[in-house]
Amino acid sequence: MSSGAGSMHSRSRGAGAEPHARIEPHGLALEDRRGVLSWFSTVDHKRIGLLYILTAGIFLLVGGAEALVIRLQLARPGAAIVSPEVYNQLFTMHGTTMVFLVGMPILVGFANYLVPLMIGASDVAFPRLNALAWWMLPAGGILLHMSILLGSAPDAGWFAYAPLSTKPYSSLPGVDCWIAGLLVLGIGSVAAAINIVATVLCRRAPGMSMQRIPLFVWMVFITAILTILAIPALNAALAMLFVDRTLGAAFFEPARGGSAVLWQHFFWIFGHPEVYILALPAFGMISEIIPVHSRKPIYGYEFVAGSTVAIGLLSFGVWAHHMFAVGLGSGVDIFFAIGSLLIAIPTGIKIFNWTATMWGGSIRFTTAMCFAVAFLVQFVLGGLSGVAFAAVPLDWQLTDTYFVVAHFHYVLFGGTLFALFAAIYHWFPKMTGRMLDERLGQWHFWLTLVGFNLTFFVQHLLGLMGMPRRVYTYDDQPGWALLNGISSAGSFLLGFATLILVWNVLRSLRRGAIAGPNPWGAFTLEWATSSPPPPENFTALPPIRSRRPAWDLEHPERADFLTQRTAEDRGTRPEAAPVAAWSFIASEIMFFVLLLAAFVVFTSGDGGAAAGRDSLDVPRTVLFTGVLVASSVTFGFALRALCRGAGARARRWLLATLLLGAIFLGNQALEWTGLLRAGVLPERDLFAACFFTVTGFHGLHVLGGLIAIGILLWLARGNDLPPRRAAVPHAVGLYWHFVDVVWIVVFAVIYLGLPRGLG
């Protein structure tokens, strides 16, 4: 938690005409250290961004190599390059790697590097949290890959449909490693996302109103909100699967009352926003790159930004379009079909505006622009094949065939990865101070373009031929061998093209032309500082009076603010700590709501819940609920004392809070022991499974809160908190009250069986 409270005061005097020499105090010592070791301890957002990009780049090569083995096995009918078991592990790892270890981190990396620069900040809101979030990435990657050492990589597909992913059908530790790895990666992603939200809301330079932030920042901001709200759905599903696999519960085991479809709901409540988590930052990149290389401002800024908000909202209401073949009924099918079709509108708005941006421009076909234009065309195709899936009866034919494989590769490879390649060519000069070689770039572009379309276009046709996805081999039906052969050949072209990029990067790092601060004549703030930027990002910030401050600086006679009015910055910025606390609470609400939803689903109906509930002692729990609520009150007193500078009193109240929380936890432990002694185990029935899962996770949260209060107590050991930490107790307080509120809901739902009407 950095940031001086002092910087808050200077902001209101923001948007003057003279360059701002004053830079926000960093809160942590600025570093300009060199050497490999300094990268391990860095909290500089630029270095962390590069670490993200580098890590994801390495995993891109791993996931790509897995794809090449897959294509080798499918290159001809009846091949036996790998066994079916290994094949299933390969496509599971390929999907998991590309989504969680490549797509998300590489986009987070660019966001990390660019967002503070683009909004004129010296760093993200929480530099140390940022470093922690990055460290979760290699940790999660290692956990996932540890499965290989334990005998088998996960093999249930990247969406791990239950019951195939449950113990009876997948007894090797692969799926366990998958769960552990994804939980770690998910927590890291949420931490990074909270940081981005807080940075955008709290660290914008004077003059940078929300209506002036670059579109990349807008899209990353919305992505971060999606991440915060979507990942907990995955975490809830993973937690339940973990309880199934290790404690013998039956959440997803239909034979013992569980539900196979529930996993799909939970997974896709996460999974569909996830698609936009992977796509929106790419849209943001395109929204920066096309204008710069067309030498024109973005067309329809408000609409490109607004459509992103619309996509974000809609993305939570379309998950069941992944489940049309489940047989959910006409009403559900039509509802989700309409939602899915509606997403075409905001997406279309973006495409129209990007095209209109090129219209009337003076387009330089740099490699970055080539990739951006190819992105446009391919993304249109991927979007339109997506429309086919939203027309439910077509989905009934095409889902789970190679047609859907083609569709999502057009979106995620032809779309996201092409945008990423464009971004690499566009921002490499800023990040390294050197240009990438354009001649090699053109080779990379054309080979990727041809390779990509060869690989994936024919897969549409394979789907129409009836080839299901995820088959390790096929027989020699007419056309199948030919098209699979073409697809495999294309994939190797892609692999070769990627090696050209790797070579280009390595070569240009040492021998590339010196870039200078703004080689493209670009518009946004990151180009108004040296390449690479100094550790504090800016030695002098230009005035921010429009959406294109760097353009205004270089073309004062045609400056944007002369012709286009944008909302002035009112100069108010919220404190970062409560923003982070609220974001975290929003994430946690999703998690608990889904766990409790599972409870309601499983215990409504046949009266099984009532029987399970008999083993609970409601009056005793009422008493200890009171204890927990009391701890919220004592925390309130502690906070008031802190604000009045009464350190000793505050410490006493904090101690009381700590004590009350510990009493509550102690009672929980006693209750658990009693139930376990009485034979109420998670494996007994779904009531017990839900009870232990929900109360267990709530207990963990209470424990986390107690640790935070303990730290607060330690920080307040003097008479007062250091002023730059003034917001911390409020943030901890928010969290502690939240934990109490969750308990009250848990008590109502599980102990009292409310709301009865829902059953």
Binding site: Y161, R295, K296, G300, I345, M358, G361
Partner: protein, 365 residues
């Protein structure tokens, strides 16, 4: 030639060759969606292409500065919105048509378990169990016992009649898909789904498991065979007759082996008293066209090759390798597939999918 003889005869693009009213309706919707998509794609590609050519940088021309136009935004919001609503409407209409039909059918006599269906299809790792419930003998033609029928990996239907198919799963999620005849429907444990199955013309139609279901998801295919009405009745009658037991010492040895090797623990076979369903019911095995979920074409030689080493065709399959010698294989075949007994089981296997290039064996029927 393929391992599965009928596939070569089928259309290259089964999704584009519908053979039932339902599949035709979906195909018609597809044509409309593709046309709309093609128009939109062409317009966008042309716009992008023209922009790329016309507005390349050249000397003497500067980029315009244009921040956008609300009027343009409204137009390209409204245009697609109309298309989207039209697509939603025609999709919804077809969804209601396809989904509503099975529900409109009476749910049958509750005394018989309520949920009447003409065919019950159950997905197993990695094969399809197909059962025809017992019918009322009075309804059938003379001599038809109306007994229940159980077979595997093939579904026989009469042409032009809609059969109500119930789709279930015995283990993990599978997905039942006959591209030429019907929508895809998941087979989900703990849940029952229903679809109509109908074919316009006699023929063989390929079916696939579309949802990844484990090691041998690739070889979980099946076939739907549509017959003319009288041929269908003939098939039913033949399947309802108890299989003729094989004669001689070989078949007797096979019968002993069937018990001692524990075949009986997994496979049902009429006459042995076994009703196990861990593996396909072997009654009338010699009448089937494919083995092992389509990994092997059924023929005397292929059945022998399959028994000799199942892992060669379907590695990871739950059928164990019993390391059988030729004599025991011949005995087992004489017992479980007496119709094959005449043929020389020691002949080299043909039509196996493994290797992919061997020529197709004749279907036994």
């Amino acid at each position: 030639m393929s391992g599965i003889a009928a596939i070569a005869a089928g259309p290259i693009f089964p999704v584009l060759a519908p053979e039932s009213p339902q599949a035709e309706a979906i195909y018609d919707l597809g044509v409309r969606v593709v046309l709309v998509a093609a128009v939109i794609f062409s317009v966008m590609a042309i716009l992008i292409g023209v922009a790329a050519v016309r507005f390349r940088e050249r000397s003497g021309r500067d980029a315009t500065i244009d921040f956008g136009s609300h009027r343009a935004e409204v137009w390209w919001m409204l245009g697609p919105l109309l298309v989207v609503f039209w697509l939603a409407a025609i999709s919804a209409k077809l969804v209601l048509t396809i989904n509503a039909v099975p529900a409109a059918h009476p749910e049958g006599d509750p005394a018989e378990g309520g949920d009447r269906c003409d065919i019950l299809v159950t997905g197993h790792q990695w094969w399809w169990e197909v059962s025809y419930p017992r019918t009322d003998p009075k309804g059938g033609p003379a001599g038809d016992s109306g007994a229940a029928i159980t077979t595997a990996n093939e579904i026989h239907i009469p042409v032009g009649r809609r059969l109500r198919v119930r789709v279930e799963s015995a283990d993990v999620i599978h997905s039942f898909w006959v591209p030429q005849l019907a929508r895809k429907i998941d087979a989900i444990p703990g849940r029952t789904n229903h679809i109509w199955l109908e074919a316009n013309r006699p023929g063989e139609y390929q079916g696939f498991c579309a949802e990844f279901c484990g090691t041998q998801h690739a070889w979980m295919r099946f076939r739907v065979i549509a017959h003319g009405e009288s041929e269908y009745r003939g098939w039913l009658a033949a399947m309802r007759r108890p299989p003729e037991p094989g004669d001689g010492a070989q078949a007797a040895l096979g019968a002993r082996l069937f018990r001692s090797l524990a075949c009986i623990e997994c496979h049902a076979l009429e006459g042995t008293g076994s009703t196990a369903a861990n593996g396909p019911d072997l009654t009338h095995l010699d009448r089937r066209r494919i083995l092992a979920g389509g990994a092997v074409v059924n023929s005397p030689a292929n059945l022998a090759a399959w028994l000799r080493n199942p892992g060669q065709f379907k590695p990871g399959s739950k059928m164990p390798d019993f390391k059988l010698d030729d004599e025991r294989i011949a005995a087992l075949i004489a017992f479980i597939a007496p119709g094959f007994a005449e043929a020389d089981a020691a002949a080299p296997p043909v039509g196996a999918a493994d290797g992919g290039n061997s020529s197709a064996g004749e279907s036994p029927r």
